[in-house]
Symmetry: C2
Subunit: 772 residues, 2 copies
Amino acid sequence: MTRQYLKFDEWKVIEEGFDPKHHKASESIFSLGNGRMGQRANFEEQYGGSTLQGSYIAGIYYPDKTRVGWWKNGYPEYFAKVINSPNWIGINVEVEGEQLDLAVCSTEDFVRVLDMQQGTLSRSFVATLGNGKKIKVSTTRFLSMTEPDCGLIRYSVTPLNFSGNIVFDAYIDGDVKNEDSNYNEKFWNILETSAGQSGAALLAQTKKLDFRVGYAMRWDINTKDIQVLAKHATKRVGNQIKVSVKQDQEIVLHKYVGIVSSLNHPYEALLQKAAEKAEYAKQKGFEAMLKAHVNHWANIWIHSDIKIEGDVAAQQGIRFNIFHLNQTYTGDDERLNIGPKGFTGEKYGGTTYWDTEAYCIPFFIATAPTSVTRNLLIYRYKHLQKAIENAQKLGFTNGAALYPMVTINGEECHNEWEITFEEIHRNGAIAFAIFNYIRHTEDYAYLEEYGLEVLIGIARFWAQRVNWSVEKKKFVILGVTGPNEYENNVNNNWYTNKMAVWCMKYAAESVERVKNSNPARYKEIIDKTNFDAASETAEWKNIVDNMYFPYNEELQVFMQQDGYMDKLQLTASDIPLAERPINQHWSWDRILRSCFIKQADTLQGIYVFEDEYDTETIRRHFNFYEPRTVHESSLSPCVHTILAARIAKLDKAYEMYLRTSRLDLDDYNREVHEGLHITSMAGTWMSIVEGFGGKRVQNGNLLVNPIIPVQWNSYSFRIRFKESDMEIRVTQKEVSISSHSDKTIELYVYSEKVVVKPGESKVVALKPDYYA
Amino acid sequence: MTRQYLKFDEWKVIEEGFDPKHHKASESIFSLGNGRMGQRANFEEQYGGSTLQGSYIAGIYYPDKTRVGWWKNGYPEYFAKVINSPNWIGINVEVEGEQLDLAVCSTEDFVRVLDMQQGTLSRSFVATLGNGKKIKVSTTRFLSMTEPDCGLIRYSVTPLNFSGNIVFDAYIDGDVKNEDSNYNEKFWNILETSAGQSGAALLAQTKKLDFRVGYAMRWDINTKDIQVLAKHATKRVGNQIKVSVKQDQEIVLHKYVGIVSSLNHPYEALLQKAAEKAEYAKQKGFEAMLKAHVNHWANIWIHSDIKIEGDVAAQQGIRFNIFHLNQTYTGDDERLNIGPKGFTGEKYGGTTYWDTEAYCIPFFIATAPTSVTRNLLIYRYKHLQKAIENAQKLGFTNGAALYPMVTINGEECHNEWEITFEEIHRNGAIAFAIFNYIRHTEDYAYLEEYGLEVLIGIARFWAQRVNWSVEKKKFVILGVTGPNEYENNVNNNWYTNKMAVWCMKYAAESVERVKNSNPARYKEIIDKTNFDAASETAEWKNIVDNMYFPYNEELQVFMQQDGYMDKLQLTASDIPLAERPINQHWSWDRILRSCFIKQADTLQGIYVFEDEYDTETIRRHFNFYEPRTVHESSLSPCVHTILAARIAKLDKAYEMYLRTSRLDLDDYNREVHEGLHITSMAGTWMSIVEGFGGKRVQNGNLLVNPIIPVQWNSYSFRIRFKESDMEIRVTQKEVSISSHSDKTIELYVYSEKVVVKPGESKVVALKPDYYA
């Protein structure tokens, strides 16, 4: 099912030889980003073949008119999507009157390299044009991590069999389209353009919402023998640079682009700011800018790298995932979040799902400064009022909050009733992320300042969403879609009921904590939220104590939902291969009434609340549910890796790990051309750190219970926990813990307390059978 | 909630005074049809106000590209819709240089009349134009029942305060649009146009499917003082007739239009045939054509009229329903069927639902010749292969048939998974209609020739659609939507399970019957269907014997579906009036998890299988479900009327009857401008005949058990049963049965056998408490 056209390398992704049929996939895989913007690996020069042009600016979106078959009350009229923005990478190359175009000319020695250590995209090739002219091209570009408003390109051309003229057309083009436009609209107006002898500028405006982005370009070239033509058309600006070259003379054009948006600057300053950024980059120079950028990446890698020895494919896979996560979100702007495809494609509209809380936050908590996760939480805090309004649309009252399934600005961006209205467990993930953040950081100030309001809104939602079943004499939650989206509108999804109860319990505890820790702030919150602490928390407690959970006595297994055992009980291995994935072969009703599970659901709950269950219980549930799971969501295998490791099914854990870590590199689902699975990449990290590494937090303590696949010689990862910072290295024999903290570290390895002093390491023998 | 702007009259619908805000509603209400075509009550002359132009030709449809938010496997790429066709009624009137337009001029004495006895639409008014010219206009039009390819218009103008020039522009316009076009496409090409001195013609072609329709127009006028101009543009043809008139001189223009389609004639003959039809109508003349048309209607009324004395609103209501049903479907073409809006609007695309089998067939069986219902059944027989293919798309095999939810040509025309894939009870209605037809007609030849194949396909579907629940140790049907569409994807909908079992039982009995009655044909069928009689019927029997039916022991009530009693149990009276109808105020998830029922579901099953239940059981179920029912489907109240009558809740029955019989006339749902609720009109007829009249068929016998609302002096209806034809008249005192048969009639009135000889009547005392 996979396609493997890329070379294995520990730090690089390498494509050798140009095959147009891989190009769109490569455009995704080799994407660059710096948190503020992202760019697919489109070619700088003209390309007549199949391509998905993608240049995205974080936080700049368009409310596209909803397309729907059958309208339901409560659907959004519009939904926001991050949009393809003006093309700033363009450098067309005309060789003796003919355009360089890899769709047309013949190519030798093509190599495309994503250097994950340095954060650069490079390409080199020899092209023979239709007119017989042969040139060597090599390019490097990066989106600066240190100057996130700057994109830089080095474009070099060497004529190999002629002397003559080459014309570079370095441009910025505002006339771009979105494949994902619902009604074929174009989303940008161009307000201003200009071009001079050494650069050009363009001011673009999004329709409807009037976001504005200023672009400025500067360039330099390593020859004096040029003629420059300034060009500005209605929607495109640039310079044509005619260069007279000799055979074997390497011409190097550097393009420096400044890109600034109205998110960060007033309208009237945008062109000026963009010009300053471009000019700054040019003055500093490509090499110096690159050096700063590489240094910045080196620091990221110190904290987030995972090293695997003895398995280059696994090593490349995990670094690829970590690299893209860090490109997508840098955590310095609480207005931004992480879309399932990051900056690598249009699908899912660049919007935020529960993926952020359930998958990305565990990664950033452990690998990035506290502020990064905190900003992801504040993003939701700032959307609380919209979440309350969203709940009101669905009939809820009194400050109950339902966060949208899909959002950019806090408003719902999805319109399938079974998801939009019913996949409400997302609310639980948002509450749990607060808990998870605090247990890693002890940042209780966050709870006081922001968290508690969110928890109250969410708990109120659940309290209204349950109803008393006279028949069951318990509270029930009817009509939901759980994490397993291959069930819709079910009653008493175990995961959802579990999350609901947990949210109400945690909200009540948090109310009590803040009341004691910060009475003044507490008073503010109860006034603001009109919170009747005594009666509301009593109501929550009543629900918590009397919630119904479907359970099968005979199997001693929690049931994913009411009626699950009425289904014909098969396992995924009973499905003919020709019918996999079932979502491409079966009609929806058939999927729904089958027992097959798209992604971890009950097991997701057991993963989240693992402390409550003993190994035998976890094993029983894993053995029941995993064989019924088809893993047709990229978010599924990681949870299974972690639980498989937890019950000492190391082979299964490794199988699942492989499925997640090279999902995009090997294009398991034949869809990588649409973009990468950014959020599930965090799941890959979790697979190693929580799965093989056995990292847990329990009762305020850090635990690690490592095991190691037989295929690996060693692996190591670095984690932050409270004020400590340490590297864990696991070999087939031992576990070593090295401190990078200036305080003494305490943790539990295989239930034994280990104390590591600043700068020191401790070694513990591997216990491969710890969970057996 | 209603709006009542029409006058009460026993035989007419009358609108006095022109109010543009009612116009679109009136366009629906005053619609005409003759089975072969239909026409909304659009004005002949130019109208600049809000209007829904609608001219429909039965069987001419367009496969519009599906519009959908989120695609599911199995959805149709295209769906067929009956489309707005060239406008043939157009007669513009220019008075001394100014166009007559009721949106612009002032109007007095406006009267619009739908004469239901005669089948005509008339209109008269005095208009004062902007130029001060005052004219009296009166028009009459009809779609001939005797020459169904002909439409005729009488258009008269009398100048009241001037002598001068009037220009009539009588035209046919092919440049029409559909409001319901998914992508604003126009659906017609115009292939040929011509115009002469006394008429014009136009040949239109639908895009994609190449249906063709020929239109020809003739006219005459009661003055010689005219100048005629022939006009043909690209898509419009006609004659301009300039008339010099004197004050108070009535000018009468007759327009005769022939409309013939490629459904009935070869392409090349269409223009010729249309011309012949127009010419024929002109030669015969307006009055003679009208007389034949009125005679035809008189005969329809003899068999289908219901007379109500003492309640003019009820009388008008029931006749309005009967009139429109007979306009919509005449039963002479088995390629045609009945759309929920008939020829009165675009909504629902003129397509066929289960409404036909569940509601319309009981009406036509009793009031129309046998052939009418037989043709409705053959329509489905001819779609059997498509139904098998439809089931294959959903994973079924071996000739299992699933009829589409919505169709014109046998292919599915709907794309909501919860309806398209899951509202499978429709299959049961199609099987039951065969049974119902045969028990009324004893036409067992139908079973042999057509019915059995359909029954086998349907039974096979059910046999594959069930699965064995290890937990329940019964067969279950998972993931369905029952008749109550306010529940989706539920398990074990009682009605659906009941229907499934009945279908398999009836199919097995029918197999046995045909095997004995016609072994040769039986052999043909088992060969054709590859039917393994012994094993397949054994499998059906096993399922029939072991089907699960949800039942609440405490309430002694069948449960609508699994888990129904987990819902918060309220009644419709608990819903604030401001939130009714809930489908306009509540989000879909809220509707779904509420206990509220859109339309009869379990009660629909009890209605269908009433013989199996005693009065106490029926009462218990009615008392449980009716209060939970919001009747937000037009198909709901009639079933409740019938059951309320059955359990002697006469007040409730009358309340429900009112709701159904004047639904469109009084515009209960504020949507009549979109078209009439044609199929539910048959339910209104059922309300009287089966509800108050207590008509049943049991064990091959006809039963009537009449009661009568206190508001009525009497009511009467005529019914056909087997070879008999009789009128039942019910007063507050007695029931009389008058024979119109040439054979002796036997029936049971209040369980007593009554025998009526040809031409005679029998009288039985009313037993108002028979069911008490």
